[in-house]
Every structure is written in structure tokens, then in C-alpha cells.
Symmetry: C2
């Protein structure tokens, strides 16, 4: 709990739930007749609605990106380090919109919602959602908010895929796409880790083919394992070494299989906490959205050809020790942008924290991010 | 099945089971009153017993390192590419001994054996075995075979740790230690992956605290997950990309969570096969042996100080794309050897296959390995 709100915080924020009644047809062919999206906004929309910035979240993210929900909150939103007065996304200049994506488990319509057709919880019947679907729903959200064109669409990791997809699906509805710690498509290794996570969940006997709520249970062990393996891929070998090394919880080896090393108990704790707070069907859905994203696919695997659809400017950022979505993946994207003659700025940030570095404010990262967003603000007179 | 045996094969081989009746006291403080070791040997021991080479196996390895058990065998032993007439470990010159380690599940005494004290299967009561324990048991095996001094002790991965430990525990009983794709100790990330594997096994309801045999079941799902996550770490991102890429099993996305990408079904297949053939308690034991290995620990984390115990010569080999035990870990070991003024040769082999590269014969690898072993042979007049 903050004793007082930091001066560079957006302060106390309140989520809003927006209801949508027009059917949304999804990439899988199914239709959602109606749905809710939970959003938060920070800052003020200017008169010509030109200063709006959309924040797209990653796998386990949600709408609460900045500020506090109450003075009792222990932690602020997940990207508070980058959103607020004087921060890279400066809420004195921008109107920031952050949402929980469709299929999520933080209030937007997802597997835990009631299926209006049956009156029962969707559970495993909730359709698989793609990055294109999310961007489609975000465009409908923009319509509702009176935003014809985003000053910028910004996201890290899976969020960066959404920013990229925006540039392809709605080229005239954004001026800038900021694609951070992301990739134009998963590698086989990325998919393999997702498959381990999914298999951990679906092979948990408490999963009950996704109908765990009907059995008044949760696939906690499976979700815990999924998070543990995911968590390892978010950190670098070096940062885990720095944080935990080979440190033991007690003085000596116990010659057993309980958690003895600090890193073991840390992972278990992270996994257990996550398994109580996140929905297993949503986890499956988010990982599949990651797997499927591949804008080059329909262009004969020619990413540059796919990018000729885009007309916005791009900032691409990667982090030196990110082995989940390595700098090489960002460079692949940047090279395709250059081949397609798009305007792109690129930086690889030297940071030791692996993939998670996009959530951690470091001077070079926030300087570049802030300078770019400053230019965006000036362009739109914000 | 080979139609005829390849000329560079050791041919048809037959494992032998050796029984030991003298108690073996383990690092954990427990004692095994008696135990069996299953071994295979290739080649002929010379008159002064100077041409013997010990092969130490990795996590899921065993005594069957080379040749075939019958003409019906589909595959030869796990290191057949490196052991045989004219191969790096040339069986025309060396007498090669390969064993299944204590705690294993291929015939040597391990969790599936009967505890003579209770008349029941050991299961989870089988003690945790360390690399030091293995080396101790291998020294007793050498006594039985009349081998006072190995020409070389050779191992990859966890096997390399045993070769290193030999140089420290019995400095006068080996002339050379070949440490391939190994590390002087696990990093936090290595331990974290092992913890995920163990947690997958122990949280499988069919594990029954390790007494699955009493329940006439196996923790197949847990062992499958453990193998899947392990398998990812044995391969490189690049080699998985080369082998599978984003290839689908069918033409298009199915918008579900069954295996759609080739890499998913490959991993599931590998995991399922492994879960039928490997013992879960042994898997726990092997991963813990990996975690615990840390010869510098008793020397105030000074690896060079630990290495002053050694008097043999060393060959250390690493592989460029091995991210499980990266070349940096081998270099750490080599630098400590140099600081301790030991004789060491080192090469980083450029190979795309990640950690598994130590099992795959490539010209530079087998050339260096073979040249070194040729020198060893000449030294002992073999």
C-alpha cells in the first residue's frame, strides 16, 4: 500500500465495463453475439481525438496497466513504470486506453463468462481467439470511444504482436506502432514451450476437459507447472544466476526432492500464486494466439510483402538477454520493414533481465521509449 | 534391424550383471549393503590392464553404449557413433567399460530393485545418489575388473561430471578425463528446469509419493511432461527450427488445443515413449545428482582450488549452440584448470544441434575426439 500516491502516478483509477451487442465474427469462423470489454483510461482525450494511445497486453496481462485501484493496493498496474505523468507514455499529453482482451480472465468476456446461448459458463467452448480477432475487437472499442486514429498502438511481447497486426489490419487507424520485446512469429522452440504448458494443464485430472468449474475444482497443479516453465523463459540465465545462484534455503543438502535451492521455492511460489489467480482455459487460449500469429503466412512467408499493407511508422525495441523473443527476431522484423520501405526506428537495449526487461524501467529503454513518444505527441499537437 | 552389422560396429554385445556384497556408504549417510551393476564391455583388456576406458552415461543413459543386443535391434547403443573399430574410442585399441549407474532403471540397483532389508521394492526409499557416489561405485567396479588405472574416463553432460569427479576423487586411477558438453555445476536456470521436471512427476496423482508400483500404475503424464521440457533444453532453437519450423500436421489451423504443429506431436511422442520406458523415481534421482554436483563447493567456491586435487590430463569439448551447458560453462572449467596448472586441451565445436550435439558425429568433433584418444592409446602402448 502506498502511504501517498507517487507524484508520477496516474493515481486511483477505476475500470469500466463496456458492453457490445453487435456480433463479432472470429477467425475460427464462430461468432460472439455479444461481449464485454473491461478497460481503464488514463489522461484526457483532446478535442480532435488525436492523442489516444492503445496499450495491448501480453499473455497474463490485463486492463490494469497503471495507477492504483485503491489506497490499499500493494502494487500499481503492470506497466506503471512506463505510463504516467513524465513517463515514456506521458498521461499529461496522451489519452491512454488499456483493455483486458477477449478471452481473458479479468472481466472481459472469456471462458469464465456465461454463454448466452446456453446460460452456462463457456469453459472449453469459448472459441480460440487470434491476434487478428483482438485487433478487430479493439477497433470496435476505438469506434465506441470516438477514436478514429490512434496516435500510437503500443505493446510488449504478445502485445507487440497486436501492435504489428494493427498496422496491417487498419493501416489508416494508427500513426505509430511500438513493438517491444516481440517477434513476427513464434519459433518451433517457442511453440514447444507453449505445448508443454498446455499439456501440463490438460493432463491435470482436475482439468476435466476444461469443465473444472462444473466439478468445483481448478487444475492448479497443471497451471502451476505451466507458469513455472513460462517463468523460466521470461528470465535470463544470468538474471536467475544473479538473483538466486545456487543458494540453498538451509545450510546443507537434504538429499531429497523438496525445494532446497532458493530458485526452486521461488518458482513454486510463483506457480502456486498464479494457479490461484489465472484461468486455465484463458491460458490455453493465450498460448494458442501466440502460436498462430504469423502475418507472413498468407504472403507466402514473405514478411516484407505482408508489411506493404502497413502505412504507420514503427519503433521496434528488443533486449540483449531476451532468449524467448531474441533481438534476432526483432531484427528479422526490422529488416522486413526496411525491405518493404516502411519507416522504422530500432534499438536493442542492453539489459540483463531477459524477456521481462520490457517491464523494467532502465535509463536507455525509457529514454528511447520516451523520446519516441515525445515525437508522437508533438506530431498530434499534444 | 541391420541386415548385416556395419564393419565399424562392435557387433553383438551381451550385458553382464555384477553383484557386489560389500556395503557402499553414500554421501547422504545411508548405506547400500549390496547392489548390482550392469555393464557392457567392448574390445580386449591388454596384459598390463592399461588400455581400459570408462564410459559414464548422462541422465537417461545406460550401459548399452555401442553395438547391438541382437540382429533384431532397430538401433545400436546410445554412443555407437563414437565407440567401435576406427571410431574415436577405437575398440581395436581400447577395452571399453560402460555401466548403468546405481539408481538407474536399466538393471543396476535402483528404485525398482528389491530392498533386501524389507523384501519390498525400494521406490522412493532408494537413497539419493550423488556424482561422488557413482564414481565411488565405479572405482569398486574397476577393482573387480582388475583395472588399477583407466587410460581415460569419458563422459558427456552428466557423464562429463563423473569424468571430472574421477579426476578429483581418484587422481591416481586415471590418466585422462574427457569432459564433453558438461559443466562444473548447474546454473539457477538449469536447476529451475530440473525442478519443473520433478514437480511434473511428483504432482501427477499416479505418482503416489513414489509408490506407484504398489498401486499398479505409473506417473506417465508427469514423466512425459518432464521429458518434454528436458527435450527442449537438449536441442537448439535453430535445430528445432530446421527440423520442424512452424510446419503443421494438416493444411490449416484447427483452432483447438490438440497437437497441430509438427513440433507439438514430436514432443508428445518423445514424452509418451519415454514415460513407458523410464522410471520416475530414477528421473528424480538423476536430476538431483545434477543439481548437487559442485566440486568447488567445499573449496569456498574456488574451482581452481578444487582442481589442485587432480593429476590427470583433460580434454574439454563444448558445442556452439548448446544452451543447456553452454561453451561459457566449459570455459569456466578450462580457465580454472589453467589457474590450477593442470594440463588441458579445449575446443568449442561449431554444431547446430544444441546439447545433443555430443551424441552426433560431426567431422571436427570426431576428429578432435579421435586424435586425442589416439594419443592416449599410444601412451599406453595400445
Amino acid at each position: 500500500m502506498p502511504d501517498s500516491l507517487p507524484p508520477d502516478s496516474v493515481g486511483i483509477v477505476t475500470p469500466q465495463t463496456l458492453h457490445f451487442d453487435s456480433p463479432l465474427t472470429l477467425a475460427c469462423g464462430q461468432t460472439l453475439d455479444s461481449y464485454d470489454l473491461v478497460i481503464e483510461t488514463y489522461g484526457t482525450l483532446n478535442a480532435d481525438a488525436s492523442n489516444a494511445v492503445l496499450i495491448c497486453h501480453a499473455l497474463s496481462g490485463h486492463h490494469h496497466a497503471a495507477g492504483y485501484h485503491s489506497m490499499d493496493d500493494r502494487k500499481p498496474g503492470w506497466w506503471d513504470s512506463c505510463i504516467g505523468p513524465g513517463k515514456p507514455i506521458d498521461t499529461r499529453r496522451f489519452f491512454v486506453v488499456s483493455l483486458n482482451n477477449l478471452g481473458g480472465c479479468n472481466g472481459s468476456t472469456g471462458p469464465n463468462a456465461t454463454n448466452p446461448k446456453t446460460g452456462k459458463t463457456y469453459g472449453p467452448d469459448f472459441p480460440v481467439i487470434t491476434v487478428q480477432d483482438w485487433v478487430h475487437s479493439q477497433a470496435i472499442l476505438a469506434d465506441r470511444l470516438g477514436i478514429e486514429c490512434w496516435a500510437a498502438v503500443v505493446g510488449g511481447s504478445l502485445g507487440g504482436m497486436q501492435a504489428l497486426q494493427w498496422s496491417l489490419s487498419y493501416p489508416n487507424r494508427l500513426r505509430h506502432a511500438l513493438i517491444i520485446a516481440s517477434t513476427p512469429r513464434l519459433t518451433a522452440q517457442n511453440i514447444a514451450f507453449n505445448e508443454v504448458a498446455r499439456k501440463a494443464i490438460t493432463s491435470d485430472p482436475e482439468f476435466h476437459d476444461g469443465r473444472y468449474h462444473d466439478f468445483d475444482t481448478l487444475p492448479r497443479q497443471g497451471l502451476m507447472l505451466a507458469r513455472m516453465v513460462g517463468h523460466i523463459t521470461y528470465l535470463s540465465d544470468a538474471s536467475m544466476g544473479e538473483k538466486f545462484g545456487r543458494e540453498l534455503r538451509d545450510q546443507a543438502y537434504k538429499f531429497g526432492y523438496d525445494a532446497e535451492f532458493q530458485v526452486e521455492s521461488y518458482l513454486r511460489y510463483q506457480g502456486e500464486r498464479f494457479s490461484e489467480s489465472f484461468d486455465a482455459n484463458t491460458y490455453l487460449l493465450m498460448t494458442r494466439a501466440l502460436d498462430y500469429f504469423d502475418p507472413a503466412y498468407e504472403f507466402d512467408n514473405n514478411l516484407a510483402a505482408a508489411l506493404t499493407q502497413a502505412s504507420c511508422e514503427f519503433l521496434v525495441l528488443s533486449f540483449s538477454t531476451d532468449w524467448r523473443f531474441s533481438p534476432a527476431r526483432s531484427e528479422e522484423l526490422v529488416n522486413a520493414m526496411i525491405a518493404a520501405r516502411r519507416k522504422v526506428s530500432y534499438a536493442e537495449i542492453d539489459a540483463p533481465w531477459g524477456h521481462d526487461a520490457f517491464l523494467i524501467p532502465t535509463p536507455r529503454y525509457t529514454d528511447i521509449f520516451g523520446a519516441y513518444m515525445g515525437r508522437v505527441a508533438r506530431e498530434v499537437g499534444a
